[in-house]
Symmetry: C2
Subunit: 294 residues, 2 copies
Amino acid sequence: MREFDLLKIVEEFFGDENVEVPAGMHDAAYVRIGDKLMVLSCDTVSEKSDFPPFMLPEEMGHMAVAVTLSDLAACGAKPLYFLSSISLKRADKELFSQLLRGIKRIASTYGVKVVGGDIDFSEFLTISGFAVGEAERVVTRKGAKPGDNVYITNPPGRAEVCLEMLRRGAKREELPYAITLYTPEPRIEEGMRIARFCSAMTDISDSLAISSHLIARSSGVRIVLDNIPLEHLEGYTENPLEVALYGGGDFELLFTAEKSDYGIRIGRVEHGEGVFLEMGSEFEEVEFRGYSHF
Amino acid sequence: MREFDLLKIVEEFFGDENVEVPAGMHDAAYVRIGDKLMVLSCDTVSEKSDFPPFMLPEEMGHMAVAVTLSDLAACGAKPLYFLSSISLKRADKELFSQLLRGIKRIASTYGVKVVGGDIDFSEFLTISGFAVGEAERVVTRKGAKPGDNVYITNPPGRAEVCLEMLRRGAKREELPYAITLYTPEPRIEEGMRIARFCSAMTDISDSLAISSHLIARSSGVRIVLDNIPLEHLEGYTENPLEVALYGGGDFELLFTAEKSDYGIRIGRVEHGEGVFLEMGSEFEEVEFRGYSHF
């Protein structure tokens, strides 16, 4: 995960900007505009590293918005505006219209206004999304306390198990969670509700393992995952645990709270550091790895 | 300029979003956040189409910020926050640090806080910038009136004449306007002052010709360019007029006003449509062309 080494450099350069939550500290930045607490986020998807086989152009547009809004969801923010820089291989009007149709549909779903953009040309299709949202309070990866429980909005590994099946030659119509893979939904409503009571939150787009580590590190605690749901992956992969822990591409929210009526309880927060998997009386260290852009 | 055909599609999809100034209508979008009038903009630069030969990594970072802030300058907005999605070829820490150093320096110059970003990987270096600024009032390309004059903040064609010289084999140290080419400055202060009295404004990053056409079209007027400065290009190119009119890469502001103490008067606004060049008693139609990403 060399990306995270580079993020350390970002923090060295910009970690002390005088804003509520600066670069590199969370899924998105918090700033004050007038009397509003606003959240700013950007994210890039490209056909090189993010679009699975058989993905339709409308779904690419959808995904560009979904990944960017997911960062806002992890802040419990209500998304307001979306902009994008789209790099096309050529000025293909039909393709471009389909991308915009996908962007428009998901933006409408979440009440987001698409207010601007930039068009560029590149050797492969890339969409950089930028979203502005409004939050009620600052929620970050920092704040998990010993005694808290760890929750996730839905069982993890659904996108990854589909990718694995595609790599083995499966067709799109054979995938059990094609919707999660091709048209992931950011957990906007859930994020806004969870933000009211959680102690820490992040999305699991890179992997459950990485997100657990990020919460553990930022909060200075130890996370023990003792109840990762795997039933939904059985029959689709030889190693459900690997897929659930280290697979990327799901846009669920991982959060900590004393108690939650939302989501599935998958672990607990303790004094200490690191992330561990509890299996019976055995503890296994969870690695810091997951979906990588490399 | 196939890019502009695609922008029409953007307008079809998103031109009716209920905001002050939506997508495709100006250099940036205006939205209200609380009681503030905010400006949102995004722009992408890449080594494929935007970085001239001999450009240093710090200058690439600088340019990414400059082009994005230039859109805000064209709104007369004060820039507040900047985010970027950076696509690298590999996790080169030294290169990455230099990019960030360039971003940091120009951001500091204009009092902009760098609050976030995203790191991705691609076959060539690309930086998508997003900026948030605050404006006092809405200034767009629409509003030029017959009787107004046309002004530009500095003589045009300086970046293009350097590019032309580089194509002919010149070395960087031989360029007359290397600073304009390698470290362009967005006209932030100027834009804020001009916004108080101008009737229309835009930057000339694509070319003076294109920006003149955009103002003429949006405002429903005819623009006659009767006084384009060319002296600064003489001796460096065989066709100073071509370079001044159709060259891209300068980040000056083009604006219309009854009268201005800022900038250089280069033309006038009349009833009618189109953009014309007045040379003695001759009128020549100015084409809609300039720097293109193709």
